[in-house]
């Protein structure tokens, strides 16, 4: 089947999605833009090694690697969920699936051999996804620590093993002899780079239902001319509109191929995160200046989700339980909107008008988010409360940015997600704290004010009562945190025999 789509003539590249698979260029024409990479692999190419476990990016059975040339012509490899990734978005990239790892003579790759040796597969259905998540780590980290292995596996579910042998395989894989195929050197081999360079486009990829412009101006112009088109970034939400809601989507206008929108710019006042910057890159940039948000960044979402999804997508989507917004609002972030050539710079909290309602004109789009740089003496904290540590949506997500004069609170910006139809500031609590001495009593009083700020919903994640109480308790935690007391379960170590 693959051959039917392969080896196009040079003049056939227009409207044709091209990517590299097993060293060969695959050219695809005429499939709907909403075809997922997973379905294309399984249904069209008959490559059934990659599995569908949930079709929503939450189990990791479908994990594949994408290799993409960066600005320095180096290939960056990242694990992504193929079940919610639309095929045209991998144009110009190298796709690596579990079938491609073995050497020509069938010798297993170190990642695979380590999984076998550690007895890390039982039913085996999740295994290809785990292999690919570990393979991404193998390529990117020379000798990963246990914690890095666990982080890399945060988006993969296994129901059989209890994970211990998989973690051990991840810790052990780098001690195997260097493989013929897919060593770190092979992954960055010149021939691979050259092949990807050949797939580079200078002009937009346009198919019947997909447009991927190359420059911001071009993107803005098309967006203005086609307000009916749907802006697509990582697709970690829109993917589910197709796989779960079975929606027919309009023409997709893809931001991911606009090089300018993929950059993080740092000015004297702020860091500007472009519309196509992935969550992985965005959180790296943010936690570099706000290390206090490392815990939030850590449990924001799994690596495959963060490798596809974008911060601007999370913001533009504006879900009431989007976990980036409380922190961004507390920090005083702005959104940079663009309509054709016109620009608007709006405080993020003003961008949200109500449930699923945003201050966004037809044809306008979120071009970037600017996060102000920290000010001296600021107390910054963010807390996410969820049933599970990794890859879960918060019941409550809280963020604090507090400035002091001595021990008196000068300004307090406190924002919550999960508490209302939109992520928003707790104005009553902020007022109760402002001008007060920083004491436990003051924080308790401010916590009581939260009942005026929010009347949260009860749903499958938590009851209204719990949300309110957990939210109140985040203020008490702030007090302990600023005091430097131990407040987080993730700081605990394994108890040894006394």
């Amino acid at each position: 089947m693959a051959d039917a789509h392969s080896n196009p003539g040079a003049d056939e590249t227009h409207g044709t999605v091209r990517f590299v698979l097993d060293g060969r260029i695959v050219a695809v024409k005429g499939v709907p833009a909403t075809t997922t990479v997973l379905d294309y692999l399984r249904e069209d190419l008959g490559r059934t090694g990659t599995k569908e476990g949930c079709a929503e990016g939450d189990c990791g059975a479908c994990t594949v690697l994408l290799g993409e040339l960066n600005a320095d012509d180096k290939i960056e490899y990242r694990a992504v969920n193929s079940c919610i990734r639309f095929l045209p978005t991998i144009d110009g990239q190298e796709l690596v699936t579990v079938e491609g790892l073995q050497a020509a003579d069938g010798t297993l790759h170190p990642v695979q051999q380590a999984m076998v040796d550690e007895h890390a597969s039982q039913c085996g259905f999740c295994t290809p996804g785990f292999v690919m998540s570990l393979f991404a780590l193998y390529l990117n980290v020379e000798k990963p620590e246990r914690e890095q292995v666990v982080d890399a596996l945060a988006g993969s579910l296994c129901r059989c093993t209890g994970y211990r042998p998989i973690i051990d395989a991840g810790c052990r894989m780098s001690s195997y002899p260097v493989p013929q195929r897919w060593s770190r050197a092979d992954a960055h081999d010149r021939a691979r780079v050259e092949k990807l360079k050949k797939l580079r486009r200078t002009e937009a990829l346009v198919t019947t239902d997909f447009i991927a412009p190359r420059t911001t101006d071009e993107f803005a112009a098309i967006r203005q001319a086609r307000p009916d088109a749907l802006v697509l970034a990582g697709g970690t939400d829109i993917g589910l509109w197709v796989t779960k809601q079975l929606r027919q989507l309009p023409t997709l206008l893809y931001v991911g191929a606009v090089r300018e929108l993929r950059s993080v710019r740092r000015t004297n006042e702020a860091i500007e995160i472009g519309a196509a910057v992935t969550l992985t890159e965005a959180w790296q940039a943010i936690t570099a200046v706000y290390p206090q948000l490392a815990d939030l960044a850590h449990r924001f979402a799994s690596p495959p989700v963060c490798n596809s999804g974008t911060l601007c997508g999370n913001v533009a989507n504006g879900s009431p339980v989007g976990d980036s917004m409380p922190a961004l609002i507390a920090l005083g972030a702005h959104v940079d909107l663009r309509l054709g050539a016109q620009r608007r710079h709006l405080p993020l909290e003003d961008f949200y008008l109500g449930y699923q309602k945003k201050d966004l004109q037809p044809g306008e789009f979120v071009a970037s988010v600017s996060v102000p740089l920290p000010r001296a003496g600021q107390f910054i904290a963010s807390y996410k409360v969820s049933k599970r540590f990794d890859q879960d949506i918060a019941a409550v997500c809280a963020a604090f940015a507090i400035e002091f004069e001595g021990e008196i609170v000068r300004t307090a910006r406190i924002a919550f997600g999960g508490m209302a139809a939109i992520a928003s500031r707790a104005k009553h609590a902020e007022a109760a704290l402002t001008g007060q001495r920083w004491t436990l009593q003051a924080l308790e009083r401010a916590a009581q004010e939260l009942s005026k700020d929010f009347q949260p919903l009860s749903d499958m994640r938590a009851s209204s009562d719990y949300r309110l109480q957990a939210a109140k308790n985040t203020l008490l935690r702030c007090f302990q945190d600023r005091d430097g007391k131990l407040t987080s379960l993730s700081q605990l170590h394994a108890p040894v025999t006394a």
């Binding site: 079709a55 579990v98 039913c123 290809p128 666990v150 059989c160 093993t161 131990l486 006394a498």
Partner: protein, 776 residues
Amino acid sequence: MSARTNRAAAPYVAPAGQALRHESAHLHVSGRALYCDDIPLPANALHAAFGISSLAHGSIRNIDLAATLAAPGVVTIALPGDIPGENNYGSVIHDDPIFAETLVQYAGQPLFAVAATSHGAARRAAALARIEYDELTPVLDIRTALAAQSYVMPSQHIVRGEPGRRLAKAPRRLKGTVTIGGQDHFYLEGQIAIAVPQEDGAMLIDSSTQHPTEVQHIVAHALGKRAHDIVVKCRRMGGGFGGKESQPALIAAAAAVLAHKTQRPVKLRLDRDDDMLITGKRHDFLADYDVGFDEHGRILALNLMLASRCGYSADLSGPVNDRALCHIDNAYFIEHVDCVSHRCKTNTVSNTAFRGFGGPQGMMVIEHIVEDIARTLGFDPLEVRRRNFYGTHDRNVTHYGQVIEDNVIHAIVDKLEDTSAYTARRIEISRWNAANPLIKRGLALTPVKFGISFNATLYNQAGALVNVYTDGTILLNHGGTEMGQGLYTKVAQVVATEFGLPMSAIRVTATDTGKIPNTSATAASSGSDLNGKAAQAAARCIRERLVEWAAGTDGVEADEIRFENGMVHIGKRHQSFGEFVRLAHAARISLSSTGFYRTPKIHWDRTAFEGRPFFYFAYGAAVSEVAIDTLTGETRLLRVDILHDVGTSLNPAIDKGQIEGGFLQGVGWLTCEELWWNERGELKTHAPSTYKIPTARDWPLAASIQLLDHPNPEDTIFRSKAVGEPPLMLAMSVFHAIRDAVAACGSRNCLPDLPAPATPEAVLRAIDSVRSESTA
């Protein structure tokens, strides 16, 4: 060949007992293991999807399928009228319609199925159906069902001794309620079946099933055919855990009805959300107890009301609740007991088998009671547990009349208490809790005693087929199914050992009703006990023929013939196994045999609820330490120490995998996995985005998993013990460690009101309640 001489030089080690890799490991890691969905389909194959009810209870006024039929790619639709035979997939009581006729009994119930040219087309078309209902009041929870006496089958009442009088006389008495949640199986591979019409009215089914024979029967009944018309195959499942015991029959039957109607192959693969909405889960339970005990914490009498939510139909709820009843003792002797078990009918999905099969819920109840007694009296719960353990020579008869002959719980707990430094850590944790207001820690040791065998005696049998080919290779087939538990590996180890061959000589093929008929479900942890023995019998039958023949030709005694390391030693003569069997074939010796096994010693009187239902018991214990965040109720498992009894292990690597995996699955059940229905009876946690099973981070930083070195006193396959289900219950230690940490927030004798699962919300509420009690 040099390899052969090397092998011959090395001392022979029989494959049985070795920590060998899973027979499919190399295929799993390279994506080359084929699951149902990976089987290439004929070009004319169709894809199916269910149309399901959005209402929990009501009668169908009208189904309008015009838009569905007109949707792109749709070929046909199957409604109840399209079922040529019986519209039922319930195996025990015939109360599970494949498609609801007029009465809708849960939100998610299949009403019809669509066949279309693609999976997506079928799903989109199914969603276009317009259904009008006359709504009826749904019964959604156990208490409501109890009040209405809404049951799927009659209640079971058992009494031993004189519980009423002993309770009245007991120096101490305590009443309480135990709440235990359900659990979704969340096998990574969802339910799937492919039905392919064969010549002369026959049908071939590829099904992801733990019970091919039941699928065969249900499909035959649905199509109005006979058993020999249907062949069901399953090479492997992507996880089962009990969820593919009775449920696959629904999927296969619907696919078969469509295949029959269209005379084209039909694949029905459930999307994850559909899978979680349509198929049954672990039963949630409620227990009201009244226990009498003495000042040392020894239980004198117990009065128990046990109720489970079965959902709208019986399914396997009868045997599940019977097993719960058989496990309300766990490892404890309860001399005087009165227990009633209600099987509640509700307008929710019909709950089904799930690893432990009611046992875990029964055991959770008694562990809760024992903890409550200890806290009331101010003892360390471990002391009270010990005081109530079954004796080895006295106090050793269960409430259903089985004498426990193999009790090793004392030795396990003593050793584990020592190796886990239980006492020292108990002191350390008390110190920590006194010094830390926000983060509290807790510790608990819980035992496991789990009965091995199907309660119903008839299921305790198995068959196998061994074919030896003239090049010395062996093809093995048996009635058990492979769902990841390593059954195919273990049984291959048995056969390889019987013939003195390396594992590479054995190939295991897909479970197939055409090869081994009338099989039991691969369930109740029985897979290797039953199929290992059956395959051994088949292998021995062939081996005895070979020995008899060789003894005759060579004029040696039978005991002078040995099979070792790929060679056959006949007196002083040696020959490769391949050459040996080639000559045997030439001498017209049969190289193929079936084998059969039935579990000895067991008997069960279901009516009297008495007998010896279990061939033996599997034992284990775990010590868990947790920390809880008292501001959010979030918890973290810090360390676990496990000592588990697998008899003489057939494969220590596989057994360790079962223990670790079962343990963490149990941790999920009791902590983060919450099934949540809204007030209309719609399940809102039907995908991994909302239903949270443990991830890699939830495996504790420190873990010690040890196997007890203790051959099974009963004559099981190489003296091993079953290991599929028992380790799940080791997770009770985590729940009770959390409860222990919550108790540290209250006064000395507080009894935290903590339901399972101990979600952050449940933990925070329990903390609040013990705190308000202690300040009241």
